[in-house]
């Protein structure tokens, strides 16, 4: 701030000094923030089917988050509880009054595990996205802004990882991090980090592409000329203007994160049944049940995954459509080739 103010006393130049204070007063920050809030602004400009999809998605996602937060209140039992008041639930029991969705092969309450599973899912999604955004943005910013050999190396590595089956990479990572077995927190962190490695290249690409574009803008150049420190240019001038496609990527990744988590769990690389409830793991244990006609152990965790992924994907899809003017306007055929 002090650096910016020092040139002001030099008035003897003929050039008029731009009155930046006046400009700042004309555009109060508060109003702009509410308008620029990612989801709200897009909800406002949506119409018809897109609006329906966006609202449905938001509602499902909202319910999922609520259930995850309120899991201790909703779930009748703990995720690893096999009996109530000293009476065993019994294994593979069909839905009844005590276990409204039946019990699993290990004698756990299906309903409670489905509810608690949402908490695990939410934690993993949040941790995975937080990690991958942080690393992805940092790498993309540095790589895109400075360029050079670092940029080229990172791009080649990111492309190589991007082309690789993400589930396999997540498997390798979960072997590395936890040797495949883990309790609640280390399990969540291991899974989240496994997913992070898969997603970092995506954030890296998106941010880097934007940074390369913004870097050439005149305002970055003028900031350089007046001697703004590089760190400040990166965060203030470049990063602020490079995040417009992030909401779409984040939502689409959130659903993919959940699918990867479930896939890992299904292959037996999730979180152990006694440490936390995880839908993919429950489905893995239900493979044998299906063959003998026991449907309740697989249907409910599976439906939970489908619903949550559907909700998040609907939000992401609609945001994606709304951010693309060719898809946003209805009744007009797609743009030029």
């Amino acid at each position: 701030m002090t650096v910016d103010n020092t040139p002001e006393p030099v008035i003897d130049r003929d050039l008029p000094t731009p009155k930046t204070e006046a400009l700042a007063a004309q555009t109060p920050r508060k109003r702009r923030w509410s308008e620029r809030l990612p989801v709200v602004s897009q909800l406002r400009q949506s119409v018809g089917l897109q609006r329906g999809m966006l609202i449905t998605g938001l509602v499902i996602t909202g319910v999922f988050v609520l259930v995850a937060i309120l899991a201790p209140l909703i779930a009748p039992y703990s995720w690893a509880q096999q009996s109530v008041n000293g009476v065993k639930f019994g294994t593979q029991q069909p839905p009844s009054a005590t276990n409204i969705l039946g019990t699993t092969v290990s004698g756990f309450d299906v309903f409670s595990r489905v509810i608690w599973g949402s908490q695990t899912a939410l934690l993993v999604i949040l941790a995975a996205i937080a990690c991958s955004i942080f690393i992805g943005i940092a790498l993309g910013l540095v790589s895109g802004y400075f360029g050079g050999w670092l940029d080229r190396t990172l791009v080649v590595i990111a492309d190589a990882i991007y082309a690789f089956p993400s589930l396999l990479l997540a498997i390798v990572m979960s072997i590395v991090i936890s040797h495949g077995q883990s309790n609640l927190w280390s399990g969540i962190m291991a899974t989240a980090l496994s997913i992070t490695v898969v997603f970092v290249p995506q954030y890296f690409r998106v941010i880097r592409a934007e940074v390369v574009r913004v870097r050439a803008e005149p305002f970055v150049e003028s900031a350089k000329v007046i001697g703004v420190p590089t760190g400040r240019i990166l965060t203030r001038h470049v990063l602020r203007n490079s995040t417009r496609s992030l909401p779409v990527v984040i939502t689409l990744n959130a659903s993919e994160a959940l699918l990867t988590l479930a896939g890992l769990g299904f292959l037996g690389f999730g979180i152990e049944a006694t440490s936390a409830a995880e839908w993919g793991y429950d489905l893995n244990r239900a493979i044998a049940d299906v063959t003998s006609g026991i449907w309740w152990t697989s249907i409910f965790p599976g439906l939970a995954i489908v619903l949550v992924v559907l909700g998040i994907t609907l939000v992401g899809e609609s945001l994606n459509d709304l951010s693309d003017p060719r898809l946003r306007t209805r009744r007009r055929a797609g743009g030029a080739a």
Binding site: L168, F266, T291, S298, I299, V306
Partner: protein, 358 residues
């Protein structure tokens, strides 16, 4: 070899000989595969070594410490990591992807034995995906923003949102257990498997083997077993293809030559299937090629669900047994397959459309 092609190149790029551009393009793509594969191999190798040697991971706790140390020493895992790394690279260059710890098989043997099953499944799945996505994608593009399009979009999102193993379990539950129409799992019934073992030089692709046997019931049995896994894997892929076809055909439908075709009285059916679909094929093929990675990951989950004994099934078995040499070998081989497939797709796209070339 590379020098030869480069030397021949100037001759080939004379005016009117478009072949040269293609060769040059193929060469560049081929060279670009190397860093991609090398990065993945390096990444996987060092990641797997970070946590210790594979022998301790597989047998730790089951063997006394001194025996374990001896096994580790025999396999050379106590040497510096860099030496092991270059040895590993050298082995891969010679086509040696390692020997599994649990059953002492070469990874390449595992891949040759079970790869055909995965290939067969992938082909069936692709057939299902094309059969579903092409007509539906064209309908969605043609009836854009109408109810058909809306419901198809929702269906495509649903197909994406449903984990492939859940689709598999549902299909099993409904068609195998409740209705009893389909077999629960496996690639063929025991009787057919026995018949198959009698085939000389089996291809491993059961349908081909059954056809060579000339046994009608065996062919039916093999196909019958393939339906549910193929549908499970195919539907996932179909959802992606559908959206891809829709977006691209909407783009070409807006072109002026389509309007002019319409004004000349070309039928709507012909407009969509020929005029709009054909030029939309290039981006479609390119992106479809990139989906091979997704298809392979899906195959792992499908094979586990249906006990379809392919690479994916074996991978999950080795994972359970903590045989990380096998896992590493299979993962690296899949990386190679993906890289080569992407290369082939690029070349096909370049052959279809000369504009793709540099």
């Amino acid at each position: 070899m590379a020098v030869d092609v480069l030397a021949a190149d100037p001759v080939a790029t004379r005016p009117k000989s478009s072949g040269g551009g293609l060769w040059r393009y193929i060469l560049i793509r081929l060279v670009l595969i190397i860093p991609t594969v090398l990065i993945l191999i390096t990444l996987v190798f060092f990641l797997m070594r970070v946590t210790g040697d594979p022998i301790t991971a597989a047998l730790g706790g089951r063997l006394p410490a001194d025996q374990l140390a001896q096994r580790v020493h025999e396999a050379g895992y106590d040497r510096p990591v860099l030496i092991q790394y270059f040895e590993y690279l050298g082995n891969i260059l010679h086509g040696d992807f390692g020997t599994t710890i649990t059953d002492g098989q070469k990874v390449t043997t595992v891949l040759l034995t079970y790869g055909s099953a995965t290939l067969e499944l992938a082909i069936y799945a692709l057939i299902v995906a094309f059969a579903v996505s092409i007509p539906l994608g064209l309908v969605a593009a043609h009836r854009r923003d109408k109810w058909q399009d809306a419901s198809l979009r929702i269906m495509a999102i649903l197909a994406y949102a449903t984990p492939i193993f859940f689709v598999g379990l549902l299909l099993k539950l409904v068609f195998s257990v409740w209705l009893g129409w389909m077999p629960v799992s496996g690639r063929a019934s025991t009787q057919t498997e026995l018949l198959m073992s009698g085939v000389s030089t089996p291809t491993g692709i059961y349908l081909l083997d059954a056809i060579r046997l000339g046994n009608g019931s065996a062919i039916l049995d093999v196909l019958w077993h393939a339906i549910l896994p193929a549908v499970a894997l195919g539907l996932l892929t179909a959802g992606i293809f559908l959206r891809l076809i829709r977006t691209n055909v909407i783009g070409t439908l807006g072109q002026q030559y389509v309007t002019s075709g319409r004004s000349r009285g070309v039928s709507e059916y012909r407009l969509v299937t020929k005029h709009a679909f054909r030029p939309a094929l290039i981006p479609i093929i390119t992106v479809m090629g990139l989906q091979i990675a997704l298809l392979l990951a899906g195959a792992i989950l499908t094979e586990t669900t249906f006990e379809w004994k392919g690479i994916g099934f074996m991978l999950s078995e080795y994972l359970k047994a903590r045989d990380f040499v096998a896992v590493q070998g299979i993962v690296v081989m899949i990386a190679l397959i993906v890289a080569v497939t992407n290369f082939i797709v690029d070349i096909v796209a370049a052959m279809i459309d000369p504009r793709v070339r540099y």
